[in-house]
Symmetry: C2
């Protein structure tokens, strides 16, 4: 088998992002404030800069990428499209499997695609400092990387258990000049309150978000804002550069169309980035299957209702119309930390609701088996999040074999797994736990949000 | 500043390796056996396959790369040449700084350039199984990766202290199907002997080599051989693909010639790979400075004599003509594990002896300062070994500024530092030790090899 890679020249990088909101059959539902009424853009101004809020509420189909942003993206983009010829050969499938390799950015994932954009827009708006939260650390390291390039200070609240268990992600953030503190911390009132009530808490994404927002909003100088790495519309928008590049590269590869698009989905940014430009084609009548792969341990799209819910545990955010397991749901500690989120991007959620996207859930051990097969055929070590997409790809490639169909499968290789080798070690030792969904907790969590408005 | 990268197409990958032995003003000195006489190729046949031994003793200038090997190299080659425009800007230097990025291979360093070749030739020779040693784990993971591609079993003896301190490198080897054991082990007679004498020893590269060779030689079926990741002539040969590609890419970048070539040097393979094709130009009269950057804690080229010495601590290898600190020398525990070797490739050694290459030694803390500046300008996190080259690059770029000269500097970005973040963390915490050379131990070590033949 011969290696097949498809590169774009710097000149071929997309000059605009694609906004799915412009093409969804039904317009996305607006976020609601505490009073149950749609919030106005102004109500977000203390948290985000107005130029990003404009993108958040935009219904414009194409949004220009500033040329200064393109210059920054050039540091690692365009990302290559590769064909997984060795996996194809192993599976003896007639399917042609392509993947968009987002693991080559310095922080090792797709996250910088929006991190550098958010940092740049904040800088333009006169902001000096960004705060954010991070779980496993992919987003935190991407934002530290971005702030270093653009010239902003960066403060990251990292969930305490990850801070302690993954100390080297913290080191990455520090290398790029980011300040990383364990959350809950004594730097914020909310953190102090939690520490007083539960001094031994491992922390949670919800608490970390609350601390990061409190610090941003509390800066009296008005020079600090908060940045989020997924879920929101402007984040999905920035990530569409992935799918837009991939479309050009599939053409270079001689493919007239893709038949199956696959991405893993946690908050939705990696999935949306690859798939939205293809979902657009689907809306326009093309026959494409678009699959969001999620963990069975946190099955937001496959098991959650489509309704309004808070984006964070502490109920500080507006209510978002999305699939959700309830803001109080704590997913089991699977290694794919980036997929342990109770909710889902409202745009991705609506695309699922409208039948444009099909969700599928995968067990952790099947994902690691797939990742190992990938490493032993294609040669690279993928992130635990990415392994969910690969598990789905293998299923689809086997299906194509059974059907005897020459399908074109495209998936998002969202990140490398070099910072997450511990999960592989446990898997190889036969010590990896399979987590079933904690049914009782899920029921309790869903019960607690029943009073919130349905979104369908 | 605009990002500048130079890619070769797959077709432009070199089809031959370059052998410096053909062009050195004085022919390299042969290895000697225990009797002090040059060894014959046959004497290596129990350790290496004959096709690689032929390369080891070859004086042919150009050696064809088998097309099957090129197909394997395509998995991550050609490697990009990049210009460090952000570092240039920071230093306000008139120098143009280029680097050959070898960090993009799946194991993350230049090591697979020879690992896949050695695995392939062994496979051709009917070998089923390779043994090797590894210190920090870069070589061990590269050989596991290579054996998985080619279809060989792989057994890696990893120095115990690294095995315990860097468990995730072991995980990488296991992901690719390699068996990694801590050395000294109870799998070999030599290992058992050492464990009996010193049950708590942290192990050493010398002990690990001895165990790996014992296992290879002891396989009565004749289907096991040993593989070495540096030092030997055939390893240098395989790595010249780095410099040969870089030459073509400098031309693409519009440069007529390079003025300064810089690589870090431990056993010599990274340094030789980049520099030998340029050393050839120097022999032919071009004005090029070629600099080997080594640690002050293990200053083989800057402080060692040029004489015959053993390649391993246990004195199992033939005597090699090289710069050496003595096979008994134990370098201080700097983080650049790949540079902690008492000897140096005989070909690199002779190039230094003949004045074609200038060695320079760098302190660990200056190297980390340079690595941090690199991460905050160019954006990527380099291996501790690579940081030695970067420290040297910064010196040379500053010199160019003082001299007001538009020099072209090319260096080898030999690997990423994602598996070595602990050293960065210590540096950022101000807890990194500076190691001075243990003078007394060095004297003792040099004294102990005084009876061995001088090489000059």
């Amino acid at each position: 088998m011969s290696v097949k890679e498809f590169f774009l020249s710097k000149n071929d990088i997309p000059k605009q992002w694609y906004n799915l909101a412009a093409d969804l059959p039904n317009p996305p539902k607006p976020p609601l404030g505490p009073d149950g009424k749609p919030i106005s853009p102004d109500m977000l101004a203390a948290v985000f800069p107005m130029n990003l809020i404009e993108q958040e509420v935009s219904s414009q189909r194409w949004v220009d990428i500033p040329k200064e942003v393109i210059e920054i993206l050039y540091r690692w983009r365009p990302a290559p499209l590769k064909r997984a010829v060795f996996l194809e050969e192993y599976l003896k499938t007639p399917a042609r499997i392509y993947y968009k390799d987002e693991s080559l950015s310095p922080p090792g994932s797709h996250k910088p695609n929006t991190a550098v954009v958010q940092a740049w827009y904040n800088k333009q708006f006169g902001i000096k400092r960004l705060t954010t939260e991070t779980g496993a650390g992919q987003w935190g390291s991407a934002l530290a990387f971005a702030c270093n390039i653009v010239g902003l200070e960066c403060k990251i609240y990292m969930v305490r258990i990850s801070f302690d268990q993954k100390p080297l992600r913290k080191t990455m953030m520090r290398i790029w000049g980011g300040e990383c503190v364990a959350s809950p911390s004594n730097r914020t009132e909310f953190g102090q309150k939690i520490l007083k009530e539960m001094p031994d808490t491992p922390g949670s994404l919800g608490i970390a978000i609350s601390e990061a927002i409190e610090e941003a909003v509390g800066d009296k100088s008005g020079k600090t804002r908060y940045a989020l790495g997924s879920v929101l519309n402007h984040v999905m928008l920035h990530q569409t550069i992935i799918g837009l590049e991939a479309k050009k590269q599939l053409f270079l590869a001689g493919e007239k169309k893709a038949d199956v698009i696959i991405g893993c989905a946690g908050g939705g940014s990696n999935f949306a980035g690859l798939s939205f430009p293809f979902v657009c084609d689907k809306i326009n009548g093309e026959d494409i299957a678009v699959i969001a792969a999620e963990p069975t341990a946190c099955p937001t799209l496959t098991r959650g209702p489509f309704q309004y819910d808070f984006g964070d545990t502490a109920q500080m955010t507006p209510l978002l119309a999305m699939f959700t397991l309830g803001h109080g749901f704590v997913p089991p500690p699977i290694h794919a930390g980036g997929l342990r989120y109770h909710g889902m991007s409202p745009l991705v959620s609506q695309a699922v609701k409208e039948g444009l996207v099909t969700p599928k859930a995968y067990h952790q051990i099947k994902c690691y088996e797939s990742a190992l097969l990938w490493a032993r055929t294609e040669g690279t070590i993928c992130a635990p999040e990415t392994s969910h997409a690969i598990a789905c790809v293998i299923d689809e490639a086997k299906k194509a074999k059974e059907e005897g169909k020459e399908k074109v499968i495209l998936f998002g290789y969202s990140g490398h797994g070099l910072m997450d080798l511990l999960g592989y070690e446990k898997f190889l030792e036969g010590k990896l736990s399979e987590y079933s969904l904690p049914q009782e907790e899920l029921q309790k969590s869903l019960e607690s949000i029943k009073h919130l408005p349905r979104a369908d």
